[in-house]
């Protein structure tokens, strides 16, 4: 019999937690009260941060890792996993989050990037990482760096699902394309995708990413969540969409139900009733290129 301290931080253990989140909703929260509302509504995890993306967008300035006190309070408030965001390339923020005991680090484009050339070497950590991606190549580069979970980026803080759809279709379409290729075509495709060949070959063989694929960035309604699930997401991140709406507790529960019963229009119709105001959305075309968070990371 081996001991419980023997083998920690393995790929299997890191990817395994994401497997346990499948079919669930991960909600952005900025206070312990919001975390409790999210847990009560059936969230599988919460993302602890100081400002939701809609407020980061409005306030401008540099967005950084959250205050450790605030993360601690949220960790104490709930029994479900707690995630927190580090800036792209800011491996010291990630070290701090690991030391705080968060369950997953999101190396996130929602915060202001700290390095314009390099993402964090995620293999160097015991805590697992989730990273955003807009297409298959980006997803595989992040997995190559050690990401144990991928989320399509979407455009955070807009309440507009169109970019999430674009990115999810790009990732799943890329997988389908790869799976249809002959073995000799994969080498050129790996070059085209700028992704490690071994991962390209693995995806071509299995027809899926080697890690769980969630969606994020613009999900505001139960129907949005179900749409992303039907497009192939394993689960949903909801950022500003819940706590920027009129009745957060009710909307949170409705999005959880719509994610579980994503292929049942009767359930989605039922839970979509009487939810109060949805967050005010932003038309993507009105954003200047530097306002587009999805362009951060590479």
């Amino acid at each position: 019999m081996t001991d419980s301290t023997a083998l920690r931080g393995t790929d299997r253990v890191k990817r395994g937690l994401a497997d346990m989140l499948k079919g669930g909703v991960i909600m952005d929260v900025v206070t312990p009260d919001q975390a409790t509302i999210a847990e009560e509504a059936g969230a599988v995890a919460v993302m602890a941060l100081e400002r939701v993306p809609a407020d980061i967008r409005r306030d401008g300035g540099v967005a950084r890792m959250s205050d450790p006190d605030m993360i601690d309070e949220i960790v104490r408030a709930v029994s479900i996993p707690v995630m927190a965001k580090a800036r792209i390339g800011h491996f010291v923020e990630a070290q701090v989050l690991q030391s705080l005991g968060v369950d997953y680090v999101d190396e996130s484009e929602v915060l202001t990037p700290a390095d314009e050339a390099h993402h964090i070497d995620k293999h160097a950590f015991t805590v697992p990482f989730v990273c955003g991606a807009t297409n298959l190549g980006e997803a595989l580069r992040r997995i190559g760096e050690g990401a144990a979970m991928i989320r399509s980026k979407g455009e955070a803080g807009t309440g507009n699902v169109v970019e999430a759809v674009r990115h999810m279709r790009a990732i799943t379409g890329g997988i389908r394309r790869l799976a249809g290729m002959g073995a000799e075509e994969r080498y050129a495709e790996a070059k085209e995708l700028r992704a490690p060949y071994d991962l390209v070959a693995e995806v071509a063989e299995s027809g899926r990413l080697p890690v769980v694929l969630f969606t994020a960035g613009g999900v505001a309604t139960p129907a949005d969540a179900a749409l992303m699930m039907q497009l192939g997401a394993d689960g949903v991140f909801v950022g500003s969409g819940i706590f920027k709406s009129g009745d957060p507790a009710k909307r949170a529960r409705a999005i959880v139900e719509a994610t579980t019963y994503f292929n049942d229009p009767d359930v989605i119709a039922k839970v979509s009733r009487d939810l109060g105001e949805a967050m005010v959305g932003i038309e993507i075309d009105t954003l200047t290129p530097d306002q587009r968070l999805a362009n951060r990371g590479w």
Partner: protein
């Protein structure tokens, strides 16, 4: 046929036509790692189906409750009226196998990591008390080789993710495996009649021996 979370977009959908003649085993598919269980159950010769609704319970010979978040699965089961029908079937002797969150749901009582009682919907079918996240947060998640009573051959390679352990159990519960911790050996696999609970995730490996043991148990229960 409905798609379940985690299912490949390309591979054939989860058909329920495993071996004809095998028992029909449902995997509660409200949330969690459903697909991994379906795979190992089919490999063990069962007809394995994902279930989300009360009407789907009647045809089942056995039930697997997967890993996931026990609070989420419990709340959804309560909202969709699954708790009482499930309790009823379990009382009538339907075999069940819970892994991690599933083991918590089968328990009569759940504790938080710090020992406070956890207020969450449970099925209460097994005479066990589980301590949630007992080994610690994700950074303490681990893999270990376990000797499991009733399994022959190599030790079972077990993956523990924010895992619970079985803190207490009644006299009718058999302990099948323990793992060493700095606080002493803790119970991580237990059986009570037709009910099986593991604190770890056999479904995250390719070792299907626990699933095969469960399928055998379902077969025996069905022929009684």
């Amino acid at each position: 046929m409905t798609r379940i979370p985690g299912e490949s977009l390309l591979a054939a959908g989860p058909s329920d036509d495993g071996l004809s003649g095998g028992p029909t085993i449902g995997v509660l598919a409200l949330q969690g790692d459903v697909l991994e269980h379906l795979r190992l159950l089919r490999a063990a010769g069962a007809r394995a189906v994902a279930v989300k609704r009360t009407g789907e319970l009647d045809r089942l010979d056995g039930l697997v409750i997967p890993g996931g978040e026990s609070t989420t699965i419990g709340k959804l089961a309560a909202m969709y009226g699954l708790l009482d029908p499930l309790r009823q079937r379990l009382r009538e002797g339907m075999p069940a196998f819970g892994t991690c969150a599933g083991a918590i749901l089968l328990a009569r009582r759940a504790l938080h990591a710090d020992g406070r009682p956890a207020e969450q919907p449970l099925l209460g079918a097994m005479d066990i008390v589980v301590r949630r996240n007992a080994f610690g947060r994700q950074i303490a998640s681990f893999e270990a080789d376990l000797d499991v009573q009733g399994l022959t051959g190599e030790p079972l390679h077990a993956v523990f993710i924010r895992a619970p352990w079985i803190e207490e159990h009644g006299p009718s519960v058999n302990v099948l495996a323990k793992v060493g911790t700095p606080l002493g050996d803790k119970v991580v696999v237990a059986r009570q009649g037709n009910l099986l609970a593991s604190a770890f995730h056999p479904e995250l490996t390719d070792d299907g021996r626990l699933h095969a043991l469960f399928v055998d148990l379902v077969r025996e229960a069905a022929t009684v």
